[in-house]
Amino acid sequence: MSFIKRWWQLFEQTVSPKYFYRISERFIPWLTLLATLLISIATVWGLAFAPADYLQGNSYRIIFIHVPAASLAMSAYFLLAICGVISLVWKVKTAEMVARAVAPIGALFCFLALVTGGIWGKPTWGTYWVWDARLTSMLVLLFLYMGVIALYNAYESSATGAKAAAILAVVGIVNLPIIKYSVVWWNTLHQGATFTLTQKPKMPTEMWLPLLLMLLGFYCLFGLLTILRTRNVILERERRSQWVRELVKAEAAKRGANRGL
């Protein structure tokens, strides 16, 4: 039994906020570089070099941000729900902090997916909005995000709020397959998936390659923002602990030195 206890202690140590804060620092420069490079290349490629669509003309170029934003909104929600389960079942503090950091990022990308979709709909379908399955389930996702964020701030004790938010996040996960398969299950204006794991995309390479680069760029950006915001949450919540006080002292010395120069 002592063996299991030691492993558990080791596990708890590696998922502690302090460890996360220290280890995550290494990823920041790489993710910044990758996100900047991928997004700039994909933007220039998608806007200027990819050929126009034979049917939609140039309005299809919205795909290069609409699809990555929507994909990210769903993946971020998945992460939110996973963190919810981990924090509810195993009471891992770091998972709760990651969830708190991810919720607003996911909500914003969901908002972007909806708005760019609406703008794209006008020249393509002739309307900004229809109450069809894909669009409505995506709107529900935005409401779920807003509910989760509201619950975090709804209680005086942040622990109670986090618990309520985690439960909502976990329950709301049923919406994800509905979004994903809405274009298959119901008759809809919305087109099917651009990328599938098993088939080659139906678009020419000059179109799907920049889309793939933008998708990767958005995920790098998401990773970066998640790390940075989780670190902010960690600092705020652990501000009374010894190691954060040391950090503050070091930062104060650094700023004092800069002012002295």
Binding site: N58, I65, L112, T116, E236
Partner: protein
């Protein structure tokens, strides 16, 4: 290049307004998100350093 001139590029056929508003909005939101994240960190350290100074002053007096 999918376009022959800058004018053509900005016009995006007849879809310029749709394409550019989407890209503009997306990059604005991303920039604001990055800025807000940096501001969060700055604000934390500013507040904590002040707190630290206050504690040191109390300690001295």
């Amino acid at each position: 290049m999918a376009f022959n001139s800058w004018a053509e590029f900005w016009a995006m056929g007849t879809h310029g307004i749709y394409v550019w508003s989407c890209y503009g909005l997306t990059f604005t939101v991303i920039a604001l998100l990055v800025l807000h994240t940096r501001q969060q960190r700055q604000r934390f350290f500013r507040a904590q350093i002040q707190q630290l100074k206050r504690e040191q002053q109390q300690h001295e007096s």
